[in-house]
């Protein structure tokens, strides 16, 4: 029973870490950051986005695919064209490092509290 719970906690943590890594990988690239900014306000079709860059269209498509896979882009087919719009909600969640840091410290303080109780009992 206890083992099951522990396993579940680790699995949940692993999923969170995977999700975060994806989002941060997505914005680690300057071209992808520029794409998100371009479609933050308006829905643009793929060619309109590609026209703004000097790199090849397939390269831009690849960046767009990565952004979509990471949940940062909403893509809709309209006629022949595919239109993109940014979905930035996943970023706001992970950018709040203070909360991550707080969680680390709350856990450290709990552990210190337990440890101090334990060693004082022994005396």
């Amino acid at each position: 029973m206890r083992n099951q719970i522990v396993t579940r906690i680790f699995v949940t943590e692993q999923l969170l870490i995977d999700m975060r890594r994806d989002v941060f990988q997505a914005i680690a690239d300057p071209t992808r950051r520029e794409i998100i900014q371009m479609v933050a306000h308006e829905r643009l079709h793929l060619n309109a986005i590609a026209d703004q860059f000097s790199i090849s269209r397939p390269a831009i498509s690849k960046h767009i695919k990565i952004l979509w896979e990471c949940g940062l882009l909403d893509i809709q087919q309209q006629g022949r064209e595919r239109y993109c719009k940014a979905k930035v909600e996943p970023l706001t969640e992970v950018s709040d490092w203070v909360e991550q840091f707080r969680a680390i410290w709350e856990q450290k303080f709990d552990a210190l509290d337990d440890y101090l109780k334990k060693i004082q009992k022994k005396k």
Binding site: V6, I9, F10, Q14, L16, I17, R20, R21, F24, Q25, I27, A28, P30, R33, Q37, A40, H41, V88, E89, L91, T92, V94, S95, D96, W97, V98, Q100, F101, R102, I104, W105, E106, Q107, K108, F109, A111, L112, D113, D114, Y115, L116, K117, I119, Q120
Partner: protein
């Protein structure tokens, strides 16, 4: 420093200050509580003095990580100031494995106060640096989007230029 981007925590421990200080300053104590839950902490290097380093290995299932602390200022038994970050096996500071925007280095200040045999520990932490790419990105986001993405970006955009 923007107050919203400083982590402040206070905890009271039912133990005398000397013992709490020892828990932070002695390797044999630290090994018992410093690591994340369910992880066996291995101390690679430990020199509790100003300029000294605490380099440790966290043996997490699927996620082995190293951490490194450099002590900046130590006033026994009341104050500990250090820089912390994730590290590699050689003790070089690296990005957090779980998040590219988690600050590379965080400065933490711990203040220990004894009241009636108990010890109050105040912890204050804030980021030391941000890369130009991060600042540009968040500034860009801010000017590009007046609304809709919550206050987090606003806070980040405000503090990043200050801490860079």
């Amino acid at each position: 420093m923007d107050a919203q981007n400083v982590l402040k925590l206070t905890r009271t421990f039912d133990a005398p200050r000397q013992l709490v200080w020892a828990s932070f300053s002695q390797a044999e104590h630290l090994a018992h509580w410093w690591g994340p839950k369910g992880c066996h902490l291995q101390i690679v290097d430990f020199e509790f003095r100003e300029g000294g380093a605490f380099h440790y290995f966290m043996d997490m299932p699927n996620n082995p990580m190293w951490g490194k602390i450099t002590y900046e200022s130590l006033i026994e038994p009341e104050k500990i100031v250090y820089l912390s970050g994730f590290a590699n096996a050689d003790g070089e500071v690296i990005r957090a494995p779980f998040s590219e925007l988690f600050p590379l280095l965080i400065r933490s200040e711990l203040t220990l106060t004894e009241v009636d045999g108990q010890t109050i520990v105040q912890m204050q932490g804030y980021p030391l640096n941000a890369t130009q790419a991060e600042i540009d990105f968040f500034n860009g986001m801010k000017s590009n989007m007046e609304q809709g993405f919550g206050s987090t970006f606003d806070q980040l955009a405000e503090y990043l230029p200050k801490v860079a």
